[in-house]
Amino acid sequence: MILLKRSFNIVGLLLLALLFIFPFVWMVSTSLKTLGEAMTFPPKWLPEVLQWQNFAAAWNSGPFLQYLTNSLLVTGGILILQFVTVVPAAYAFARYQFRGQKVLFALIMVTLMIPAQLIFLPVYIQMSNWGLLNQAWALILPFASSAFGIFLLRQSFKQVPHELIEAARLDDASEWKIMWRVMVPLAKPTLITFALFSFITHWNDYFWPLVMTTNNDARTLPVGIAQLRNTEGGVSWNTLMAGNMLLVIPVLFVFLLAQRQIIRAFTYTGVK
């Protein structure tokens, strides 16, 4: 009886896994088929001959080197700027007592709840007035700091024992030096967690680049890949899935490497 129950449980678990993994397997399989093989019913599970040229076809169907460069530039730019703006702010909130501290912190936390979907119109007009549309700056600047990052890092700075800072002060270290040389290395796990969160969020983002750019020279991978579906005379599903893999693989790879930390980073936004 217990054995029966246990095997039912395992069958259920495997079905659940299938429900979440199979779509990705199906994407891989489709990406390696001929268009004819993709469009048969009932479906063919595996391609007869692996069609690696689908990846080349997807890549060559648009300026994908440009998209990739833009994606790297934008995501990298955001991460660097966030690092230099978030660390001092978090340090100030964790280690100083100053007038207006609570109000300022509350103000920053409120911005956490303001989604890009709410403010894209006014920001678009601003960017247009500044002549920044279709430039990487329009995709980087709004995310040059992160309320979530400040919140996360403040917690971890607070946990650094006071004695360590006192010892550094006795050694005549400046505040600046204490922040970068003592606190930042100690907060490394938090910083990595946040960097993973931020990388995935901005690498995957479709809405902001779509809204802020009209020109292929400025667009990022998600927007470029979404354009693949607009082919004349019906969608080439095999090429589309090959293009889709270009977007999925880097993130899935990072996820498999750092699954625990990534889950922690994302679930933190929910719990707190």
Partner: protein, 288 residues
């Protein structure tokens, strides 16, 4: 003197970013909503609340609001219910369970663009995998994204699939924070599994449920990607929702004031949820 200014200087860069790109645009959005402007002409026409009047007189917009509400209420309630069940099931130690938690979470880290394209392919009516699977049990030819009767439902399916893992993991964290002694006491009282769930687990989980529901509501009201990629609001307006509507009116019809008025409405809705969220947060902090 320098010493006193130090913390302010440290916060300043972040503050400038938030002020320029979050706080100021909110004010600007409200200002735009009171004007008639096509983005190109040098002059903005002040027209007061006319945009709002027009908005509420528009039948298409009523549909949009209804679609958004149906989408939000169904995806949030289904996701919440299913993820509680999944959390109860998957809250165990062991390689298989860790693997499964990762597997159901994986859609959460993948771009919605990829997920939308992938599901579009599986929902293809003639060759798609879903219709093949349904064929096996004798159901034929569902039009998924191509018929107004099913299109909104199809987007809800994708939303639930994407959100299930994140919610389940938060519920697992919530379950693990319930003290074991409470369950041991229930065990001594010979309580049935269902009554243990109803009398202990559910009440202890209720703060987590509240938080998740609010976060999911806020997220769900902003749905854009799946619409933009899978349906463009169609067929016949059946999947058009708030953010996509604002996007259409702003960027395709250049009715900036009108689109902003819809934006102000969205701001109002999200502010209400946010207020509830912070109210709950402050209560929870007091408890601790």
């Amino acid at each position: 003197m320098m010493q006193k200014a130090q913390p302010y200087l440290m916060i300043l860069p972040s503050l400038v970013v938030f002020a320029l790109f979050f706080l100021y645009p909110i004010g600007y959005l409200i200002q735009l909503s009171l004007h008639d402007w096509n983005f190109i002409s040098p002059e903005m026409n002040f027209i007061g609340l006319q945009n709002f009047q027009q908005l509420f007189a528009d039948n298409e917009f009523k549909e949009v609001l209804l679609n958004t509400t149906i989408y939000t209420v169904s995806s949030v309630s289904v996701t919440t219910a299913l993820s509680i069940l999944l959390a109860l099931w998957l809250n165990k130690k062991g390689l298989l369970y860790t693997f499964l938690q990762g597997a159901i979470f994986s859609p959460h880290v993948i771009s919605l663009v990829s997920i939308a394209l992938l599901w579009m392919w599986m929902m293809e009516p003639d060759y798609g995998l879903l219709n093949w699977a349904l064929n096996l049990v004798g159901i034929n030819g569902i039009q998924w994204l191509n018929a107004p009767e099913t299109s909104l439902f199809s987007l809800i399916v994708v939303a639930v699939w994407k959100g299930l893992g994140f919610n389940t993991l938060i519920f697992i964290a919530g379950l693990q924070s319930i003290p074991k002694t409470v369950y041991e006491a229930a065990d001594l009282d010979d309580a049935s599994r269902f009554s243990t769930f109803r009398e202990i687990t559910l009440p202890m989980l209720s703060p987590t449920i509240f938080f998740l529901v609010i976060i999911n509501l806020i997220g769900s009201f902003q749905v854009f990607e799946t619409i933009s990629i899978m349906t463009q609001g169609g067929p016949i307006n059946s999947t058009n929702m708030l953010v996509y509507y604002i996007y259409e009116y702003g960027f395709q019809f250049f009715k900036i004031g009108y689109a902003s008025a819809a934006g102000v409405l969205l701001l109002g809705i999200i502010s209400i949820f946010t207020a509830v969220y912070f109210w709950l947060l402050s209560r929870r902090v007091h408890y601790q």
